[in-house]
């Protein structure tokens, strides 16, 4: 990597109480890039995204955005710097309607950008029809669309996506990934945590494979052989 990466982690560690989940992750994301993070259950993929987003304590200098340390900032500050997380399992606000969920996503917005309620509805037209529905009444795919839209409302430069395809039908996954292509086309960089290898590799510029809290493999999808991924995935 010749130029300065937009988002970097350097020897990032994270703990749940006494349990160490990440053992020194070094990672980089360049402007406009989509990077996939793959790995088995419990490899630390979600923990990694949470640590970047500020939901877990981490060493202050371990996360850097545009060369600036953001590791000491709480989650509600991180989003103001243009880093938004689409959490695993959607986690919509259950007492808020679809539209309210989207609007609350703009609460911490500090800059203009392509995303507002209108452009989110253009991206996911079926949400406009259901705008006043309680978010709990939606199907899993629609909920995922709200979760993505909610994160876009802060006009992030970097979108962290945790298991977008989890529990969704293949046809719905296709729609979600089509939307992701639109989001990328507007210049947003994406970090994609996925168990679905095929989808992750099809959209990623680069990929990291995690195993037990460490990076076991990284590279461009075309350069990674099936056997290498297999070995990095399971540690065989």
């Amino acid at each position: 990597m010749s130029r300065l990466a937009m988002l970097e982690t350097c020897d990032l560690t994270a703990f749940y109480g006494d349990f160490q989940a990440l053992f020194g992750i070094t990672f980089a994301l360049n402007e406009g890039e989509t990077v996939a993070i793959i790995g088995a259950n419990g490899a630390g993929k979600s923990t990694f995204l949470k640590a970047i987003a500020g939901l877990l304590p981490r060493p202050a200098a371990a996360v850097r955005l545009d060369g600036r340390d953001i590791g000491a900032l709480p989650a509600y500050e991180i989003v103001k710097f243009g880093v938004a997380l689409v959490p695993e399992g959607r986690r919509l606000f259950s007492s808020l309607s679809v539209e309210e969920n989207l609007l609350v996503g703009a609460y911490g917005r500090h800059t203009g950008g392509p995303w507002n309620i209108e452009t989110v509805y253009q991206l996911f037209p079926m949400l406009r029809e259901r705008r006043h529905t309680p978010s709990t009444a939606l199907s899993g795919g629609q909920q995922q669309m709200v979760a993505i839209g909610r994160s876009l409302m802060s006009n992030p430069r970097i979108l962290l996506c945790d298991e977008l395809s989890l529990g969704l039908a293949p046809i719905v996954i296709r729609d979600i990934y089509a939307a992701l292509a639109d989001i990328k086309a507007r210049g947003t960089s994406v970090v994609l945590v996925e168990q679905d290898l095929v989808h992750a590799m099809s959209v990623a510029d680069r990929a990291y494979c995690f195993q037990e809290g460490r990076v076991s493999l990284s590279g461009r999808p075309a350069e990674l052989t099936r056997d290498a991924i297999h070995a990095a995935y399971f540690g065989l």
Partner: protein, 288 residues
């Protein structure tokens, strides 16, 4: 028959006061799952603050207009410097802190104002009443109190359901971790919540002080009525809390109508009956 209608009316009006006690409690429990055991004592503190201001020559309406924002500020500071430090997965530490606070406030008031009983004087309004015909009349002050209770709920619902900050309150209540991802500072939301709670306490204090005598020891009983109203209401909305307050109020006046000694007891009995029949309250939350 007429006597019963009158009793029912007085009970509903009393329910307005209990609803004012309970609204602040309902708001802090709803948004941060915090049980404030000092709630009743903070209402009494509000009454003494108003009393102190009027004793210094400040007119009563001005005293209220000063004490309501003062109590808001007190709540904001209390939450940010003390209670926010204790919030976490374990509900016990904040419970213990508010228990301690209750003792401190009670004894502080006792030390400062002695155990004498006091009353806030509203002059001729005190005994003014509206005749409704048929020998039934309702007091003007209790009527204003009920109207204030409804007004507070309308205003709070307006804030919670129609403003961006209100959405942030509800989002924080639903999922505090994800709310932070939206750029919401949950600690400042909590501080605002406690501020709102104590501002409503100050208003309740005014109606408490004009309705009956108060002294530093009566806080815990107010807390109990407020709790009962919140639980009977079922935690889903502030309207439920109002309904809960009215149930307690009506039960107490009906009890007193049968035998004056039964007033307090019948309120508690009504609470227990509701718990037996509808353990989750009259208007339960859809999801918990």
């Amino acid at each position: 028959m007429l006597g019963w209608i009158d009793t029912l009316l007085q009970g509903i009006l009393l329910g307005g006061l209990y609803s004012l006690y309970a609204t602040g409690l309902s708001v802090i429990f709803g948004i941060m799952r915090l049980v404030n055991l000092a709630h009743g004592d903070l209402i009494v503190l509000g009454a003494f603050l108003i009393l102190a201001a009027t004793s210094a020559g400040v007119p009563l309406p001005v005293a209220c207009a000063v004490v309501v924002p003062l109590m808001f500020a007190l709540g904001y500071v209390l939450q940010s410097v003390l209670l926010n430090r204790a919030l976490g997965r374990n509900i016990l530490p904040p419970l213990l802190i508010t228990f301690g606070l209750s003792i401190i406030v009670q004894n502080g008031l006792l030390e400062t104002f002695s155990a004498d009983t006091h009353r806030l004087d509203v002059g001729s309004l005190q005994s003014a009443s509206l005749p409704l015909g048929g020998g039934i009349a309702v007091g003007v002050m209790p009527l204003i109190c009920l109207a204030a209770a409804i007004g507070v709920i309308l205003v709070l619902n307006g804030v919670f359901y129609r403003t961006a900050v209100g959405r942030a309150f509800r989002a924080t209540s639903d999922d505090v971790e994800i709310a932070q991802l939206m750029g919401i500072n949950n600690r400042s939301i909590y501080a605002l919540t406690m501020g709102i709670s104590l501002a409503v306490c100050a208003l309740a204090a005014f109606f408490l002080g004009t309705r009956a005598n108060f002294d530093p020891s009566i806080g815990p009983a107010r807390l109990l009525y407020a709790f009962e109203a919140v639980i009977i209401g079922g935690l889903s909305s502030l309207w439920g809390t109002l309904a809960g307050g009215i149930v307690v109020g009506v039960a107490q006046t009906v009890g007193a109508h049968i035998d004056p000694e039964w007033q307090i007891l019948s309120g508690h009995v009504a609470f227990l009956i509701v718990l037996v029949i509808r353990p989750r309250g009259l208007f339960p939350r859809a999801v918990d």
